[in-house]
């Protein structure tokens, strides 16, 4: 089991600690608005093992993006909750350059070339860029953008921009990768292609990955574990294991057992009364 609700607050043995990359301990989030506080996320518990691929899925407002942003240290959990990434606080962890992140929109610097955009995290971390040219080139080839090194974001298609964002998230050789609906803006056909690509990249590296998604098939195809969340207030409804062996082939998308699991997820998302 790669992800489990962490009911016990202290890990029983120090040895178990090492294999867990991410601990979410009673972390909730309440936003202050003009009309009073709004609870985006109930205090939740979650553990993610090293090298696991965990997909977070749920309707809008279920707090899945908030959870991811808390792991990235972009939001602070409410008092009483804590998040530890490899035993460190997110702010400390990200300063060491161990975190990779990609958002729903590529969010590239429009005035920079593909190569320079991929190098940007290195600059933020204050690392030398010059020695990394070969590494960056290999990432460009990994995401299939060879020949586009000098192109500006405006000259690329949506799918290509998203691949640049993935390469950028990998440039620091992160030990934890956070993906916030990275393919949410792409059409279904392109999205499937990117799913296959992402799996290929992930299998090569086995980086601990947290993926936020709207797509049931995406979550099942990519995840070792799918965390189903529900809204009002945001909470974890169920954690479902995905049994399919890796590497998963595109043909899996049309397999009956794949659809069966997707239907099972649909029920979990919509409650017992839903007809898949």
């Amino acid at each position: 089991m790669n992800a489990l609700p962490a009911r016990d607050r202290e890990p029983s043995s120090p040895g178990a600690e090492r294999s867990v990359d991410l601990i979410v301990d009673r972390a909730g989030k309440t936003f202050e608005t003009a009309r009073g506080p709004v609870r985006a996320l109930e205090p939740i518990d979650l553990k993610v093992a090293r090298g696991a691929f965990v997909a977070l899925i749920g309707p809008s407002g279920c707090g899945k993006s908030t959870l991811l942003r808390m792991v990235a240290g972009l939001e602070q959990p409410d008092d009483g909750g804590a998040i530890l990434v490899r035993g460190k606080h997110p702010e400390q962890f990200r300063k060491e350059g161990e975190l990779g992140i990609a958002f729903q929109d590529a969010a590239l610097l429009p005035w920079r070339s593909v190569t320079d955009n991929i190098a940007f995290p290195l600059q933020i971390l204050g690392r030398p860029v010059k020695g990394e040219a070969a590494h960056i080139q290999s990432l460009i080839e990994l995401v299939g953008l060879k020949g586009y090194e000098a192109a500006r974001p405006g000259q690329l298609s949506g799918g290509m921009r998203q691949r640049v964002a993935i390469a950028r998230a990998l440039v620091t050789d992160p030990s934890v990768l956070l993906l916030d609906e990275p393919f949410g803006a792409l059409d279904q056909i392109l999205r499937r292609q990117m799913n296959v690509e992402l799996q290929r990249i992930w299998v090569a590296r086995q980086t601990t990955t947290l993926l936020v998604t709207h797509g049931i098939d995406e979550a099942v195809f990519l995840g070792d574990t799918v965390v189903v969340m529900q809204a009002q207030p945001g909470r974890i409804a169920e954690i479902i294991e995905v049994p399919f062996a890796r590497p998963r082939l595109p043909s899996l998308f049309s397999a009956p057992e794949f659809h069966a699991l997707c239907d099972r997820l649909t029920v979990s998302l919509h409650g017992e009364g839903a007809h898949p």
Binding site: L74, L99, I101, A107, I124, A185
Partner: protein
């Protein structure tokens, strides 16, 4: 170049040639044309005869404008960087910034002469006029950061310094150049207005003052056109880099979250404190400037003395009466000009929607004309309207109309397509769209335009009074300047600045109420 753009350019060229030909005919062969609209060939001939004067005056104004521009934008960019890092400081400097935006620049020239020597009064006035548009555009550019990029920088542990260096500075460049573009013509206007106040010998301001009584229409037109040409050259200089940069800086997709320009939150006591500082700071700077410059308090009184000049003492009643009389002449005309200019601009912008050909013809003219220095139209106004009240009104309408039309045209054309499609889907024509969609939609733009041009209306009337009609507040300041009545210069400047700021803030208050 695409074929329609080519045809459009050909049409503009043809229209310009026809207009020039008509102008030439009227200006050469009708008696009123000779007096008011001297033919282009005559203006050129006169300019050629005056070429040595043009070289001397033109060079002086050019030098002043460029120096003022460089100083003004340097301070503006520095201030924008500081305000971006410390938003509280921007709130504290709000009073200073708005004063610099709203002040009728013509009243500042005579004050600067009291402190500065040589060309410096004109240079500083040009710099003061450049400051606000350059600062606000740069600050807007620095603040408008794609929130996703800010998240990205934060996710890698980067702080505000990294964000500034890699994202904000480069992202602000198009806005920076857009600000420079607007500021460049203002530097020329500031230089010329400063020349009026300083009584300098060389410069287009001096040239215009000496030419006004001579009754040589061709020379007056030449001066106006030459001053406009310098100002528009400055505008054009920054047009190209701004276009090139914005093509490579615009985010490919829109950010879902709009960045908030105003710092959010903050304790209310801190806000009240900052607001008080904002009001006090301009007066503090005045007091400091007067004290530190060691100029005699008779020549350069502080805020206290200037207020007392109008309240107590032997001459207070007379001073109040003179100022009140002048205001009674100036303010109604400024208000009339403001309302007429806005109404005219609103009607024409609405008509442009019904008849798009009108907009095609008028918009380029308005875009150019709003950047023409105000003083450049003085010759035209004198020749056509003489030296009566009509000149003042026309001048105010003119300075209000062009920027208001450009803003309102934007308002009318930014109506969401879905809204007009809805009207069309139920069989409504252009008129129905105008009444139900475009006009209600553009009220916000109308008020925004009113806020921005209200100070301009006062400046327009005061320039006309100073140079042309010889009545009102503009004239009072000119006479006080000539008569070395320093207390009155300061009091007149204070009152006119306060009125401008009040007009700006007053319309802003209405604007905020409507936006709510």
């Amino acid at each position: 170049m695409t074929a329609p753009a080519y045809r459009e350019n050909a049409r503009i060229l043809f229209g310009t040639l026809v207009a020039l030909a008509v102008w030439e005919l009227l200006g050469a062969y009708t008696s009123w044309g000779v007096a008011m609209f001297p033919a282009p060939t005559r203006i050129l001939a006169q300019a050629f005869a005056d070429r040595e004067l043009y070289a001397l005056h033109g060079l002086a104004t050019l030098q002043t404008s460029v120096s003022g521009f460089v100083i003004g934008v340097s301070v503006a960019v520095f201030a924008a960087l500081v305000f971006c890092r410390l938003p509280g400081l921007e709130l504290a400097f709000r009073g200073v910034n708005i004063t610099l935006f709203a002040m009728p620049a013509i009243v500042i020239g005579p004050l600067l002469v009291l402190f500065l020597k040589g060309d410096w009064p004109q240079i500083v006035l040009a710099a003061l006029m450049v400051y606000f548009p350059a600062m606000s555009a740069t600050l807007l550019g620095l603040r408008t950061v794609d929130p996703r990029l800010a998240d990205l920088v934060a996710a890698y542990g980067g702080g505000e310094g990294v964000l500034m260096r890699h994202v904000r500075l480069r992202g602000a460049l198009p806005d920076l150049f857009a600000g420079f573009r607007v500021a460049a013509p203002l530097a020329v206007l500031g230089a010329v207005l400063g020349e009026f106040g300083s009584g300098t010998r060389w410069g287009f301001g001096a040239f215009l003052l000496s030419a006004l009584p001579q009754g040589n229409p061709a020379r007056l037109w030449g001066i106006g056109l030459a001053a406009s040409a310098i100002a528009l050259a400055g505008y054009a200089l920054f047009l190209l880099p701004a276009r090139r940069l914005s093509a490579s800086s615009t985010a490919v997709t829109l950010a879902a979250v709009q960045p908030s320009a105003r710092p959010k939150g903050g304790a209310s006591t801190r806000r009240i404190l900052l607001a008080l500082v904002a009001v006090a700071l301009p007066f503090l700077i005045w007091w400091l400037g007067v004290t530190l410059s060691h100029v005699s308090p008779i020549i350069a009184p502080g805020p206290g003395r200037t207020v007392m000049f109008l309240i107590e003492g032997r001459h207070a009643a007379a001073a109040r009466a003179a100022l009140g009389h002048a205001l009674g002449q100036t303010l109604p005309i400024a208000l009339l000009g403001l309302l007429a200019g806005l109404a005219f601009a609103f009607m024409l912008a609405a008509l442009s929607l019904l008849a798009p050909a009108l907009a095609r013809g008028l918009l380029p003219v308005a875009l150019v004309a709003q950047n023409m220095p105000l003083v450049a139209v003085v010759p035209f106004v004198v020749l056509v309207f003489g030296r009566g009240t009509a000149s003042s009104v026309f001048m105010a309408v003119l300075v209000v109309f062009f920027p208001a039309y450009v803003l309102l045209h934007q308002g009318f054309t930014s109506v969401p397509k879905a809204a007009s499609d809805l009207v069309a889907a139920y069989g409504g024509g252009r008129w129905k769209q105008l009444v139900h969609i475009a006009v209600p939609y553009s009220i916000g733009h109308l008020i925004a335009a009113a806020r921005l041009v209200a100070p301009q209306a006062l400046l327009g009337v005061m320039v006309a009074e100073w140079l042309v009609t010889g009545v009102g507040l503009g004239n009072l300041l000119n006479i006080s300047r000539g008569g070395l009545d320093y207390d009155m210069i300061w009091a007149g400047a204070l009152v006119s600045i306060l009125i401008s700021v009040a007009a700006y803030e007053g319309v802003g208050l209405i604007e905020r109420r409507i936006a709510r």
